[in-house]
C-alpha cells in the first residue's frame, strides 16, 4: 500500500445536524475532544486550526470539501511533533449518514506515505474520542479524561 490510512466507524443515536455541530462547535469539542477548539469559517477553502488550551496551534489545514451535515474533508498537518510536521499534510474525512434513529459516522484519516507517524499517532487517540463523542450525544456526558488536554503534550 502506498498510503497509511485508518477508517473508524461509530453509530450514534442523534441527528446528522446535531452531530455536525458536536464535531465543529467549541461548546461540544471542549467536552469530548480534550478541551480543544477549532478555528474555521467552515466553507470551501477556509483555513482550519485545532487549538489546544495553552494557545498552541496543534494542527492546521484547509477545508477541501464541505457538504453540511453530510461530509467534511480537511487537510491536516500536525505541529506538536517534529516528525509529524515533517510529513506535511494528511487528509481527514468525516462522513455522516443518517440511518433511521442513528447516524453512522465514518472517520477516515490518510496520508500518501507508508508507515506515516502522523497516522499512527492520530489513530491512537480517535477511538477514545469517538467513544466519548457517542457518550456525550447519547447521555449528555462525555467520558472521563476527554474534557482535559493531556498533561505533558
Amino acid at each position: 500500500m502506498a498510503e497509511s490510512e485508518f477508517v473508524y466507524v461509530t453509530y450514534i443515536r442523534t441527528t446528522a445536524e446535531k452531530l455536525w455541530q458536536a464535531l465543529t462547535e467549541p461548546e461540544f469539542t471542549r467536552k469530548f475532544w480534550v478541551d480543544t477548539v477549532q478555528e474555521c469559517e467552515w466553507k470551501l477553502g477556509a483555513s482550519w486550526t485545532l487549538r489546544v488550551p495553552d494557545g498552541r496551534a496543534a494542527d492546521t489545514g484547509e477545508v477541501v470539501e464541505i457538504d453540511r451535515p453530510r461530509k467534511l474533508v480537511l487537510t491536516w498537518q500536525n505541529h506538536l511533533f517534529p516528525e509529524c510536521e515533517a510529513e506535511g499534510f494528511s487528509r481527514m474525512t468525516y462522513l455522516l449518514e443518517a440511518q433511521g434513529e442513528v447516524v453512522k459516522l465514518t472517520l477516515t484519516h490518510s496520508m500518501e506515505k507508508k508507515n506515516s507517524v502522523t497516522i499512527s499517532k492520530v489513530s491512537n487517540g480517535w477511538p477514545h474520542l469517538l467513544a466519548s463523542l457517542k457518550s456525550l450525544m447519547e447521555t449528555g456526558e462525555s467520558l472521563p479524561g476527554t474534557d482535559k488536554w493531556p498533561e505533558g503534550i
Binding site: 500500500m1 490510512e5 473508524y8 466507524v9 461509530t10 442513528v102 469517538l130 467513544a131 457518550s135 479524561g145
Partner: protein, 109 residues
C-alpha cells in the same frame, strides 16, 4: 443497531475471526485476497467470517477503485471497555498489562 454489544461478543467468540482482526491490526486496509494469504481457511470461510465481523462493525470496508479494502475498527471494543473500566482503573490495568507482556514475552496471551 451498529455496534450492538451482542454482535461484538459473538464476532469475537471465534479464534478465526480474532486472527483476522490480528491480521488487520498489523496492516489495516487489505483486500480479501491479501487476507486469504497464509491462512489455513478457504476463501469462502474468510468471506463468511468477515461478514460477521462487519455486522459487528469490528471490520469496516471501503472501495478504492475496484478493490474492496477491509479495515480494523476498534471503536466498538473501546466502547465495551469504557463500560466497565473507569478512569481510575485504567492506569493500573495498563501497568498490569505491561508487566504481563514483559514477563510472558510478546506471546498471544
Amino acid at each position: 443497531m451498529g455496534a450492538d454489544v451482542d454482535l461484538v461478543f459473538k464476532a469475537l467468540a471465534a479464534p478465526e475471526r480474532r486472527l483476522l482482526l490480528d491480521r488487520l491490526r498489523a496492516d489495516s486496509g487489505q483486500t480479501l485476497t491479501q487476507l486469504c494469504e497464509r491462512m489455513e481457511m478457504t476463501r469462502q470461510a474468510v468471506t463468511k467470517h468477515l461478514k460477521v465481523l462487519e455486522a459487528a462493525t469490528l471490520v469496516v470496508t471501503r472501495w478504492r477503485g475496484r478493490e474492496k479494502l477491509h479495515y480494523l475498527n476498534p471503536v466498538p471494543i473501546h466502547e465495551i471497555s469504557e463500560r466497565w473500566i473507569g478512569k481510575y482503573e485504567r492506569g493500573r490495568l495498563g501497568a498490569l498489562a505491561d508487566l504481563k507482556t514483559k514477563l510472558e514475552g510478546e506471546g498471544n496471551g
